[in-house]
């Protein structure tokens, strides 16, 4: 058995622990925190987290997502990905009208996490970071398949393009202007992912991505 060292939590204000808050006191707190309706801003203002069940074994889904070229299939507009010369991990493609998008994939098979570190216009500071965690649905929902949790954090660069001098795509709107619609945009893409993976998994087709070399 372990217990915190006496005084280890001294001086930390605002903790709610059963030693100081009995059940009725906790009840008061959590009922105040629980609303019937939450505004879009409260839920998606600074962090955008969405989730789906996907009928596909977790390891297979992980291998599909770990391959950054799968983004060519399930994202709305990331296209023409190719390696950046001299960098083993970085890819560059196009997004929006003709904006360069740089992508580095950071995946951990043990944890079933796949993170795409991205940026428009430059590959030195990858700040648009899309975080995915795959959880075996058997564990959390007692059903086959995977649960995918996708989080995007509102990096300050969404508010202001830090490198306006690199913008050569005159037809585009800065990515951060769309943050208020990211819940919808991410949902569309996660549904793409679900549809593609479930279509192939249900038919025993290799998950892919299904690609060929283009000029």
């Amino acid at each position: 058995m372990k217990t915190p060292v006496p005084g280890a939590l001294d001086g930390i204000d605002g903790l709610v622990r059963c030693e100081e808050f009995d059940r009725p006191a906790l009840g008061e707190r959590i009922s105040e925190l629980t609303h019937t309706v939450y505004s879009h801003d409260q839920v998606y203002g600074d962090y955008c987290t969405i989730h789906r069940h996907i009928a596909c074994p977790p390891r297979d889904l992980f291998r599909y997502m770990q391959d950054p070229y799968s983004l060519l299939e399930w994202t709305y507009s990331v296209r023409e990905l190719r390696p950046v010369p001299g960098d083993d991990e970085l890819l560059v493609g196009v997004d929006a009208a003709s904006t360069p998008i740089y992508v580095k994939t950071v995946a951990h098979e043990g944890a079933l996490t796949v993170d795409y570190h991205c940026a428009w216009d430059q590959g030195r500071e990858l700040w648009m970071i899309y975080l995915y965690r795959i959880v075996p649905a058997e564990l959390v929902l007692k059903r086959p398949g995977s649960v995918v949790i996708w989080t995007n954090c509102r990096h300050p660069y969404y508010a202001h393009n830090p490198f306006p001098e690199l913008d050569t795509d005159r037809g585009r709107t800065w990515v951060g202007e769309w943050w208020p619609l990211f819940y919808g945009g991410h949902t569309v893409e996660l549904d793409n992912l679900k549809a593609i993976v479930e279509h192939r998994a249900a038919r025993g087709i290799p998950l892919g991505p299904s690609l060929l070399e283009a000029p």
Partner: protein, 332 residues
């Protein structure tokens, strides 16, 4: 202090019913912000906003049995695109109605929520001047005057607006008291809606390309976001000031830019669809005329009983103005 009462409302619609086919194949097939109504009315070239307003006002005068020389001494108008450059429509409306109001105010701003803003102004002016009653007149004319033009009517947003006029009559009285009124000006959004021509000319400069109304492309997401949030916020604030919960409203009436905003506003206020009455599918985006027209339509549909609470709310343009009011409807 005697409260302001909204004693009645009436609408008047142009007789030209415009079907979706008018805008071209598939123009009216879009979703979201550009969801088209089933049909809408358009003002013809020879029809004026003043006549439309006078049509609504005559209906209201008859309905309330007003004695026009005695009962109407203030006149407010808001017209999306007035009949003449430079002059407002108010004096012409007064002429058509045969009245000589002490004051005529042609509001140039507050578009889609002008009816609520007029309530606020009328209350102050009535209290200040000792005037007897005010006619609040809102007319939408951009359907026929802008979105029916060749070169504009095939654009994705052209099927959404529709023309019409709505008027209300207010006086200081306890009969149908306005319990609370809140309004907000958000100057930072003032330049997000623009009237522009494809050739880049100013609207007063000569040219052959048609003028259209647009939101700046960069700001579409922000405008949607702001529109979603500001109306429920102000309606909730008006309810709080009136000492009621939004769930106690029997009716919510707003402007009607598109069905997405309508859905999101009533969801945010936890109101069922039947309590948020609109005429979007018949009349489209009526700009400022929507609130009085929808209120009259709701009354005809028996959605508001005497003594019940109704909230009026909305926002204008790209969010530069927003307002809301809560009132207790008159008993029969």
């Amino acid at each position: 202090m005697t409260p302001l009462s909204l004693l009645g409302v009436a609408g008047f619609m142009p007789d030209d019913v415009v079907p979706n086919a008018f805008f071209g194949p598939n123009v009216a097939a879009h979703r979201g912000m550009f969801t088209a109504p089933h049909e809408r009315r358009h003002l013809r070239r020879d029809q004026t906003a003043s006549a439309l307003i006078a049509g609504a006002a005559e209906r209201l005068i008859a309905k309330l049995e007003l004695e026009r020389a005695r009962d109407i001494d203030l006149l407010f108008t808001n017209v999306a695109l007035p009949d003449q450059a430079f002059t407002g429509c108010g004096a012409e409306v007064a002429h058509l109605l045969g009245i000589r109001p002490k004051r005529v105010v042609d509001l140039h701003n507050t578009g889609c929520v002008s009816f609520v803003c007029m309530l606020e102004l009328a209350r102050a002016l009535l209290r200040d001047s000792g005037a007897r009653g005010a006619l609040l007149c809102c007319a939408q004319t951009a359907g026929g005057r802008v979105f029916a033009q060749e070169g504009v009517r095939h654009e994705v947003h052209a099927p959404v607006p529709g023309d019409g006029a709505g008027v209300g009559y207010v006086a200081l009285s306890e009969v149908a008291p306005v319990l609370s009124l809140v309004s907000r000006c958000q100057p930072e959004f003032a330049s997000d809606m623009v009237a522009e021509a494809p050739d880049g000319r100013r609207y007063w400069e000569p040219g052959t390309s048609p003028i259209t109304l647009k939101f700046t492309e960069q700001r579409v997401a922000a405008i949607m976001h702001r529109g979603n949030a500001v109306v429920p916020e102000l309606v909730a604030e008006a309810c709080a000031r009136a000492g009621v919960h939004p769930r106690e409203l029997e009716l919510l009436v707003t402007n009607q830019p598109n069905p997405i905003f309508l859905r999101n506003w009533r969801e945010a206020l936890e109101l069922p669809p039947e309590k948020h009455h609109d005429t979007f599918d018949r009349y489209g985006n009526l700009f400022g005329a929507a609130i009085p027209i929808n209120l009259e339509d709701a009354l005809a549909a028996r959605k508001l009983t005497g003594g019940a609470l109704v909230a009026l709310g909305g926002f204008s343009h790209a969010g530069d103005y927003a307002a809301a009011a809560v009132l207790r409807w008159r008993r029969p």
